[in-house]
């Protein structure tokens, strides 16, 4: 008998996932002090190599990507079985099937998906900064249907392979799948209507918390607190090349970085999803 106790926090990178994880950590913690950004647990990362190796009893470094993919659902089932609490798991993979009738993320243990989405133009700027790569390199990432993290087979990378696909492919894979209930949160709403946006998510997950508890958790997860913590003690999830993880978090920063050609390349490729999620009008005018 499966427990539906896993909540997938799914997003394309740089779309507010870490912010949401910090918020959840603060919401569920009993401490008065804000949660430490470096204490977000390793087991909450769904592509963790260590968790995979521990639960399977095998070295993922001796297995092919396909073999690992086939075992990942079983690892999640076992984690679910062993846990008496809700498990929040950060995911950057797209939603896909590893075998017939076998999604990578097993519906039978899933309580729901929080899918975080952000204007792809802002994603590009943030992603480029995060990985210290030029903006035009990141366009080919967002537009590449085969895009993946940790997919080299000639070296051992710190996490398991994650297939992201293109930006809109990622959005579609999670928001159009019908196997796990999904709640979409826009990064822009997290900024502009913070309380409403976070409390809707908490209601979707049927977590019983008062408005005041939600407000407190939001306050403890304020951008200034997170970037302040990073300034003092660093953040382990930052890439070595980038200056900081919590950079600006602003809406519309792309206007300072992207020329018309780059904008068009993104809009052209992701028009439908951008219209659907309110980033573009049907006349192709940008909203943010």
């Amino acid at each position: 008998m499966y427990k539906k106790n896993v909540i997938w926090l799914a997003s394309y990178p740089k779309s507010g996932n870490t912010w949401f994880r910090v918020f959840i950590t603060n919401l569920l913690s009993n401490s008065d002090a804000p949660a430490n950004i470096n204490d977000l647990s390793e087991t909450s990362i769904s592509s963790s190599r260590k968790v995979f190796d521990d639960y399977t009893g095998l070295s993922s470094s001796d297995l092919s990507f396909e073999e690992i993919d086939k075992l990942r659902p079983e690892v999640y089932r076992m984690q679910s079985e062993e846990s008496s609490e809700l498990l929040f798991k950060k995911v950057h993979d797209k939603f896909y099937f590893v075998a017939e009738n076998q999604p990578l993320f097993p519906p039978e243990i899933s309580k729901g998906v929080i899918y975080l989405i952000r204007n792809p133009l802002d994603v590009i700027v943030s992603f480029a900064y995060h990985s210290s790569r030029p903006v035009n390199k990141m366009i080919s990432a967002l537009n590449n249907p085969e895009y993946a993290f940790c997919d080299k087979n000639d070296k051992l990378q710190n996490q398991l392979r994650q297939i992201l696909g293109s930006w809109s492919g990622h959005v579609q894979s999670w928001t159009e799948q019908k196997l796990i209930p999904v709640h979409v949160i826009r990064y822009e709403d997290m900024i502009n209507n913070t309380f409403e946006s976070f409390s809707k998510a908490i209601r979707f997950l049927s977590i019983e918390k008062t408005d005041q508890q939600i407000r407190d958790a939001i306050q403890k997860s304020d951008f200034r607190i997170l970037s302040g913590q990073e300034k003092i003690s660093g953040f382990k999830e930052k890439m070595i090349q980038s200056k900081s993880f919590f950079r600006k978090g602003k809406i519309g920063d792309w206007r300072n970085h992207l020329d018309k050609e780059i904008q068009d390349k993104i809009i052209e490729n992701h028009k439908d999803a951008m219209i659907k999620f309110g980033y573009l009008t049907s006349e192709s005018k940008l909203i943010y």
């Binding site: 190599r49 260590k50 190796d53 521990d54 639960y55 399977t56 009893g57 095998l58 070295s59 993922s60 470094s61 001796d62 297995l63 092919s64 073999e67 086939k70 075992l71 079983e74 690892v75 076992m78 080299k152 087979n153 000639d154 070296k155 051992l156 990378q157 710190n158 660093g234 953040f235 382990k236 930052k238 890439m239 070595i240």
Partner: protein, 298 residues
């Protein structure tokens, strides 16, 4: 009667029905027998299950899809079942990994996840999570003329010494490239994985040595190297969590043995957390840092 091959590895005499070319041949009365045959479907009285293993008191079962099933019993027998009744390099890969890991725990030995190098008259282990560079830094030391005791699993025996494993390392292509080792003459561990068996031959030290230090390697996203000596509970937890396949310990009901071994070992050794910049790993620079900081010598 099938041919019998006799080897010595990890301080144990091993008799096998099939050839294990990774091991060094030897003579003597077997501590361990390895054979091909039917393996039970499941264990009775399972104490702990993983996705691909089951553990019970003195029994352990491991399954690797499309490769083999392994049954490890009483710390002295490993039975391997394959569809071809033949043990190729892929079958041996998991035999010399998780299956032997379970066997060591059954024997009350302490397997540490890491690679050991001889420095002076003692051994140091490079440990840490998968992908942190344990084998890579050990290979760098071997190229510098230091000797290898074990790669991937380091067995600590009852005398608190590191028992020599076997003269092979498994190294990824990017690391071989950066160490300027050509891959043409080497064999891949598996067809789809660009990780290679690298024989070390003369670079192997075939005698046990007292363990003096464990370096727990971690990465950080800032420049420069850092060293911190771990003490007390931190020291205990670091070595505990870097026990090879720690989750097997409970399933095999070896918690008490494991705890007692750690308590005996820890006062005799030093444990350091060594943090290196995340990527790319600068092997020469890292090795030099360790040599200078810890005055390491052949």
């Amino acid at each position: 009667m099938p041919a019998i091959y006799t080897y010595k590895a990890f301080g144990l005499i091993i008799q096998s029905e099939f050839e294990i070319p990774e091991f060094m041949t030897s003579k003597g009365i077997a501590d361990i027998e390895i054979n091909l045959g039917k393996v039970p479907e499941k264990l009775d009285r399972v104490i702990k299950k993983g996705v691909k293993y089951q553990a019970a008191r003195n029994e352990f079962l491991l399954e690797v899809d499309q490769i083999a099933r392994y049954y490890v019993k009483n710390g002295c027998e490993i039975r391997v079942e394959t569809s071809t009744n033949h043990a190729d390099k892929e079958v041996r890969l998991f035999l010399l990994g998780s299956a032997f890991g379970a066997l060591f725990l059954q024997r009350g030995l302490l397997p540490i996840h890491g690679s050991a190098i001889k420095f002076g008259n003692s051994a140091c282990i490079f440990s840490g999570v998968s992908g942190v560079g344990k084998s890579s830094i050990a290979a760098t030391f071997v190229l510098k003329g230091f000797q290898l005791l074990a790669d991937d699993i380091c067995v600590i025996d009852n005398k608190l010494s590191v028992a020599p494993g076997f003269p092979h390392m498994k190294i990824w292509k990017d690391i071989l490239d950066s160490l300027k080792i050509k891959t043409e003459a080497l064999t891949e561990i598996r067809p789809e994985i660009k990780k290679y068996h690298m024989p070390v031959d003369d670079g192997f030290y075939n005698d046990s040595l007292p363990l003096s230090k464990i370096f727990i390697i971690t990465t950080k996203n800032t420049p420069g190297y850092e060293v911190e000596e771990l003490k007390g509970l931190q020291k205990f937890n670091a070595v505990k969590s870097n026990t090879y396949r720690y989750r097997f310990v409970g399933g095999l009901e070896k918690q008490l043995d494991h705890f007692q071994t750690l308590n005996k070992l820890l006062p005799e050794i030093k444990v350091y957390r060594v943090s290196r910049p995340q990527s790319p790993i600068m092997l020469e620079e890292f090795a030099d840092f360790l040599i200078n900081t810890f005055k390491l010598d052949v």
